[in-house]
Amino acid sequence: MIQGRTGHRNGLWALLLIFLSLQACVEPFELKTGTEKRSLVVSGMVTDQNLPELNKVTLTWTEPFDGEKRQVLNEPVLGATVLLQDNQGNSMSLTEGARGVYTLLESDFEVQPRRTYTLHIRLPDGREYASRPELLRPVPGIRDIKYEFKEFVDVVRSSAGVLVERKSVGFEVKAQAQDPAERGNYYRWDTEGVFEFFSDVGDTPLPSQCWSHVGSINTKVVVSDDRLVNGRLFEQHVVVVPADIPTKYRIKIRQYSLTAEAYEFWRLLSQQQSSVGSIFDPPAARITGNVYSLTDPEEQVTGYFSVSALNDSFLVINRSQYAPFPGLPYELPKGNCLILGLYPNVTNEKPLGF
């Protein structure tokens, strides 16, 4: 897509450097910068579906940029009051859970399409924040999900900092949707992965077929607008499902509607993620969200609260058809698959689709 143009150009540039044998190099270095003054981070959304695992807002504090610490422990905001209001005067309260997550419980859910929603936050110290109103826009359904088994070649920087080619295989998953006739539709996608795996239990009756729910497998923001595809059936590359073990993989794709402002926020975050410091990178941009302070207009607030309609669909990839995969030969682990500890969120209850 054209959005990928900058990315392409960056790759192109890396390639130019390779054939010019310039030994261009990228070195990581430790940098500590920024202010200790922390500001509020609001991240979350409410959808038109009554799904508490999606309808939630996480409140945390920013951290200074610290390349030495090797981890980000964004401190959660505890004890805040979080309210969701629509433009008809209805209000829903979000319930605080663990680590600064405030959830819209199933029993409180009253979200209606085509209404405008505003988030209100009050911290225990009395500071108040609000989001700019967000309209719940409809989203078309996912027509189809396709995948393609392919080899990926990336120009990456090795640990020595030299540009090298890295090959890998995977299943490129694309969603297909029909954009409505009117202009100004914005989309975001995320994913949820579940895969089966087996263990060698010998003759014991221990469970040997399990499933791991890995949650979102996106490492990058996936958004798009209909500027170039208005009214058409279009395809969006969403994620690459890893080809590591020859078992079935269920990939669920969720397609959300966005407002123009929300799209802009996610687009800039996506742009930040694809930065490689090349000459074709746009300069670092400030990404402004839609949450502001009611008590101090100068106070910076990071993040976005969005309201989205949601449609999802899934696909099961039988990866064994494409095996063997490059790398070490696949060997069944030994023991009870529920307690192997190899994968997260393991269950032996067969999920839908397997």
Binding site: I2, L16, S21, T35, K220, L233, S278, I279, F280, A285
Partner: protein, 885 residues
């Protein structure tokens, strides 16, 4: 006043003209030979002893007619002769022979008439004896008066002096100096032909200008580079590069290696008017900015005006880079070329009609694809790249007073990334120029240019396959007159008009299956006209002034649509309240500007002067690029109702001093610039295929100031320069709302703001055939935006940035070396060749190009990275040759 001393020989009254000569002279002094002839042939020969003293002759005559023999004998001494009568021969300098009538010559010779004290003018052309090409910037000097001038772009010079006899010295880079006695009794013309010095390939001279030109002229902020000098500089991958050489001049910077264009005195890259044979170029880069588009074989000389821009130039606010291409050899055909690691060159030139018309055809092709094929990886093997450029020029001397030149240029770049995405861009230009001399006081030039720059991307990635094409077409017509009524006054005037047609982008799905919609951005058309006049006036030898005015009118023409935005709120697509439609040819928006220019020179004694200059420039077309470095496929936009013309005002003060017989030049120039209506961008602006692009652009102001110190040495063995520049370039965007401000409306450093810059360019002649060149450059790291904090959004790390450009990447420094070995230094060798070995970035410094911040470990841990484009020393080897028939 008459200094001609006559040495009559004894002789008999016989008719010498009829007598054949039989003699064999082996390396005999000419004076001795002449004496012998006088005795043998009973004639008297009159001449000045110093004309013949150093000359030795080797000739063999067998019954050769006297006149022929004498002509051959005198040829080497550049003398001719006149038969005054049957027994009397008067020798005259060759150059004067045409105007010396025998009687006046002899009368003067015999009688020694003193000349009354009156002023006369000497004028003429300086040309290459071998190629007939004019020498721009050749120095013409009357030694006794220490008065000199510089030949103009047609090689024409004019000098005024009291009548008398002088030593005229004519010098040009790479040429043997011509030194001759000139008798100036009345105004006259004298054309001078210069011969190449024997070791022309190695000849190093800093500049083609008068030795005291920098002190004596009104020019400021002007740098000339001769191509011979550019060739000597160590080249990146062995590719001699005009723009890389320009980067070594004070006041010129770049954001980094591989970035296209250059920044002059705090200006953006689109603020440079890059002219190749008067045709403006929209992209001066090959291979995304690694190399420049000028074929070094074709270039005659390069002039960079970074201040004191003559009124004849307009349309860009920071600088003018005027690259003049050579004319073909008018005497003999020559083939020359070179073979390098990345590209090869071949050039053919020669006469069409001897001494009247010539042609030159030069081409260059690069073969990066060849190297790609040996890469082990498939996707790299699938990639392919190329670039080529072709220059052609024909010049024709129609008459003594008219010269016609036509030149054409074609270049093309392509790069296919993997198997699916291809970037292409190319330029085609054509220039026709007609020079007419009305008299030696009034000259005119009419120039017509047509050009086309097209660029695009195509992708074959289904189902989003597309081609995206953009194009700029332009036509220009310009007439310039130069009138010099007396030596104190020089007037230039002219008019120009330029028509531009921009196609900002047409997106076409490239197959039926493509899910993309065809999109066609509205074309933009504009007409730019200008008239100018400038007058240089020398009050006295101590004080001279020049002042000029350019008046430009700009019309943005229909058909077109203009969106009206709600004036109360920041412009956005959603704030459009109305659309105005304009018919074909209707004026959508008009701008008129007066662009005054002025300069003053005050001499501070023999070899130094102080100069003051001011100029205003206006720019109507803009490069729209918010990346650190522009790419050749970025769009250009013409001014409209929202995008106002950029305006630049510059005030400069300079001190110039020459020492050691003008071989050491010292200059200090300080400048202050104000820039208005610069193009800046909202954070995250979308520039491509955006029909409401005006809403994403912000008008900015800028200021730039600096001090440039330069020491230049021209000599026999060691030449070069050292310069130090302190400069700042700041920008400010202060709109009415927060969205229309950058850094709260405060000044912030521009991307290319590099306060300290030190450059050394040296060339040492080690022996007659070997020379060593070294470049060293140091500059402050460019500004960059640092992160302030990190946040986690939906499980992904997000970096919050601080105010724009408040930090800097580490300093930049680099040393390059080049060793040139010539195959021969024989004067008339038919085959001349040289090898150039160069190393770029000798000590392998990993100069950071950028510092960037990216989450690592699946987007969860913040990490800072430094990117160096050239991380090691880059050696290269090039072979050059020249074959003369």
């Amino acid at each position: 006043m008459l200094l001609l001393l006559l040495l009559p020989g004894k002789g008999w009254a016989q008719n010498a003209d009829q007598r054949p000569i039989t003699a064999n002279y082996q390396n005999r002094p000419l004076q001795e030979v002449l004496r012998e002839l006088q005795q043998q042939h009973s004639i008297r020969i009159f001449y000045l002893p110093e004309w013949v003293e150093p000359v030795r002759v080797t000739q063999n005559f067998n019954q050769t007619p006297f006149a022929t023999a004498l002509r051959q004998l005198l040829e080497k001494a550049q003398l001719s002769f006149v038969f005054y009568d049957a027994q009397t021969v008067v020798l005259v300098p060759l150059s004067a022979a045409s105007v010396f009538q025998p009687d006046t010559a002899l009368a003067a010779a015999a009688a020694g008439i003193a000349t009354p004290d009156r002023t006369v003018t000497l004028s003429g052309h300086v040309r290459s004896a071998k190629t007939g090409e004019p020498f721009v910037g050749a120095t013409v000097l009357l030694e006794e008066l220490k008065k000199g001038t510089v030949a103009d772009e047609k090689g024409y010079y004019t000098l005024t002096a009291p009548a008398g006899e002088y030593t005229l010295r004519v010098r040009a880079v790479g040429m043997t100096e011509d030194k001759r006695r000139v008798r100036l009794q009345q105004s006259r013309t004298m054309d001078v032909e210069l011969f190449e010095v024997s070791n022309q390939l190695r000849e190093v001279a800093v500049s083609a200008k008068a030795p005291d030109h920098n002190v004596e002229s009104l020019e400021m902020g002007v740098a000339r580079l001769n191509i011979a000098e550019v060739r000597k500089m160590p080249a990146f991958l062995g590719e001699v590069d005009v723009i890389r050489s320009v980067l070594m001049l004070p006041g010129v910077t770049t954001v980094g290696e591989g970035a296209s264009g250059f920044n002059v005195r705090g200006g953006s890259i689109d603020q440079n008017l890059v002219l190749q044979d008067q045709a403006p170029l929209f992209s001066s880069s090959h291979l995304f900015g690694f190399f420049s588009v000028f074929n070094p074989d074709m270039v005659r000389d390069v002039t960079l005006y970074r201040g004191g821009i003559p009124a004849r130039y307009g349309g860009r606010i920071s600088s003018v880079l005027d690259v003049e291409l050579k004319e073909g050899n008018k005497k003999a055909p020559i083939v020359s070329g070179g073979i390098g690691l990345l590209s090869s060159r071949l050039m053919v030139e020669g006469p069409i009609v001897k001494d009247k018309a010539s042609f030159v055809l030069g081409g260059r092709g690069a073969y990066p694809g060849l190297a790609l094929r040996y890469m082990p990886d498939k996707s790299v093997r699938d990639s392919d790249g190329y670039f080529y450029d072709v220059n052609a020029k024909v010049s024709y001397v129609l008459s003594e007073k008219d010269q016609l030149t036509a030149s054409g240029y074609l270049s093309r770049d392509g790069f296919r990334f993997g198997a699916d995405t291809t970037y292409t861009w190319g330029t085609a230009t054509g220039t026709v120029r007609w020079n007419h001399t009305f008299s030696n006081k009034l000259l005119s030039t009419v120039t017509a240019v047509a050009g086309d720059y097209d660029y695009g991307v195509s992708a074959e990635t289904k189902p989003s396959d597309y081609t995206l094409d953009s194009e700029i077409k332009y036509k220009m017509l310009q007439a310039d007159f130069s009138y010099e009524p007396s030596v104190q006054h020089k007037i230039n005037l002219g008019a120009s008009s330029a028509w531009h047609n921009f196609n900002p982008g047409v997106l076409r799905p490239s197959s039926e299956q493509s899910s993309l919609l065809p999109i066609s951005m509205a074309r933009e058309r504009s007409l730019e006209t200008a008239v100018y006049l400038d007058h240089a006036y020398t009050f006295s030898p101590r004080v001279s002034v020049a002042y000029g005015l350019r008046y430009s009118s700009y019309f943005n023409l229909g058909p077109g649509e203009v969106y009206l935005y709600n004036p109360e709120v920041p412009r956005r697509e959603s704030t459009i309240i109305d659309t105005l439609r304009y018919a074909n040819g209707k004026v959508i928006q008009q701008y008129n500007y007066l662009e005054p220019r002025a300069s003053l020179r005050v001499s501070l004694g023999q070899n130094s002067s102080l100069k003051l200059g001011y100029n205003r420039m206006v720019q109507y077309i803009h490069l729209i690029s918010n990346t650190t470095a522009a790419s050749p496929v970025d769009i250009w936009k013409t001014s409209n109702a929202y995008l106002k013309p950029q305006v630049g005002d510059q005030l400069a003060l300079g001190f110039f001093k020459n020492m050691q017989d003008n071989t050491v030049e010292l200059s200090a120039e300080a400048y202050y610039k104000k820039l208005h209506n610069l193009v800046e961008y909202k954070d995250g602006a979308q520039l491509l295929l955006n029909s409401t692009l005006d809403a994403d652009l912000l008008p900015g102001d800028g200021k730039a100031y600096g001090l440039e110190l330069m020491l230049r040495r021209s000599g026999k063995r060691l030449t070069g320069w050292a310069s130090y520049t302190y400069s700042r370039s700041l920008r400010r965007v202060d709109g009415p709302t927060a969205e229309e401000k950058i850094n709260n409306g405060d000044y912030f450093p521009a991307n290319f703001d590099k306060p300290h810059d030190l450059t050394l360019v040296l060339n040492q002649q080690l022996s007659r055939l070997i020379s060593l060149a070294a470049n060293f450059t140091y500059s402050t790291g460019r500004p960059i935006t640092y992160p302030e904090s990190v946040a986690v959004i939906d499980g992904l790390l997000m970096v919050n940035y601080s105010d724009r450009n408040q930090h800097r990447i580490p300093d930049y420094h680099r040393l390059d070396l080049a060793l040139t070995i010539d195959g021969t230094n024989k004067r008339n060798a038919n085959w001349v060749s040289s090898w150039v070995f160069s190393v770029y970035n000798v000590y392998g410094r990993q100069n950071p190009y950028s510092v960037f911040f990216k989450a690592s470990y699946g987007g969860t841990v913040p990490q800072a990275y430094r990117l160096s484009v050239v991380g090691s020393a880059v050696p290269a080897i090039t072979y050059n040759f020249k074959l003369t028939k």
